[in-house]
């Protein structure tokens, strides 16, 4: 039953993505930035999905610390990993956009920089998990770190914004305008990418359950 729902969500997401790709390539190039502006259809939804993932991870971590229910721990890992994948997509598409718009692959633009810092933060989360063997300890420590990391996200974003506005800015984000008939497609694309995120998370969650099953089987094998 659960698998069936997953397949349906996945199929809907794929159809939406294909439809949006078709529409996006059909759009005329944007007046100021040309064709490259259209990358926003992937770039921004990926960022928003990643942020949503971070939020879910934060809530799941708190719930784990309160209830000690390993379901929440599994959710936190799943969602963090998926969020990292999407944030990587966001960073790389942003970098490609920057190469055209600014002429360089990496300008220390406020948004790119804070996205990179957040990526490092959550990569640290996965590394911490990898380094701890004992499941309860791993879940508890990872949850604590996840809370620390999530608190840091707004501080990072604001401080890097201040940092960049203090310096002479070589580049600006602006220059592109969003034609009104793009908004609807953008909304659908947003939904499609979010759905992809949901499917990924669900699959990853099931893998965590497999892992726990393996652990318990191992324990049984040891007991025999």
């Amino acid at each position: 039953m659960r698998d069936k729902i997953l397949y349906i969500i996945g199929a809907v997401a794929l159809i939406l993505l294909a439809r949006d790709m078709y529409l996006i390539t059909g759009f005329p190039a944007e007046a100021n930035q040309g064709a490259i502006f259209k990358i926003i259809f992937f770039h921004v939804p990926m960022a928003i999905t990643a942020l949503t993932c971070a939020m879910v991870a934060f809530v799941a971590s708190i719930l784990f610390l309160i209830t000690k229910n390993f379901q929440y721990d599994a959710l936190a890992v799943a969602v963090t990993e998926v969020g990292l994948a999407f944030l990587a997509g966001n960073l790389i598409t942003g970098s490609i956009w920057g190469r055209v718009a600014w002429g360089i692959w990496w300008a220390w633009d406020a948004r790119l920089t804070s996205a990179l810092v957040c990526w490092l933060l959550y990569a640290g989360y996965l590394m911490l998990r990898n380094a701890i063997e004992e499941p309860t300890q791993r879940a508890t420590f990872a949850a604590v770190f996840s809370i620390f990391a999530f608190i840091d996200v707004p501080i990072v974003i604001f401080s890097i914004k201040w940092w960049r506005t203090q310096h002479p800015q070589p580049v600006f984000w602006g220059g592109g305008s969003f034609p009104p008939d793009w908004s609807a497609v953008f909304g659908w694309q947003m939904l499609a990418i979010l759905l992809v995120g949901v499917v990924f998370t669900a699959v990853r969650l099931r893998q965590e359950q497999f892992q726990r099953e393996i652990d318990s089987l191992r324990r049984m094998a040891h007991a025999l």
Partner: protein, 71 residues
């Protein structure tokens, strides 16, 4: 006459440059979209391989557990 030709030439130049710019723009958009898809596909492949590994491990352990009580 000569000035007109020069004007024409520079206009042609501008058109060419503009076309080049658009082309480059387009190439980058293309690669950007490819990369976005590629990341998703790579992540899916990573998950599939992990899933396979986990299933194999479960099967192995189950087989082991079934063997043991009999022996």
């Amino acid at each position: 006459m000569y000035a007109l030709m020069l004007l024409q030439a520079s206009a042609d130049d501008a058109v060419l440059r503009e076309m080049e710019r658009l082309q480059r723009n387009f190439t980058f958009l293309n690669s950007g979209l490819w990369v976005a898809w590629l990341i998703l596909v790579v992540y899916v492949l990573m998950m599939v391989s992990r899933e396979r590994k986990l299933k194999r491990e479960i099967a192995g352990l189950k087989a082991m557990l079934e063997d043991k009580p009999r022996s």
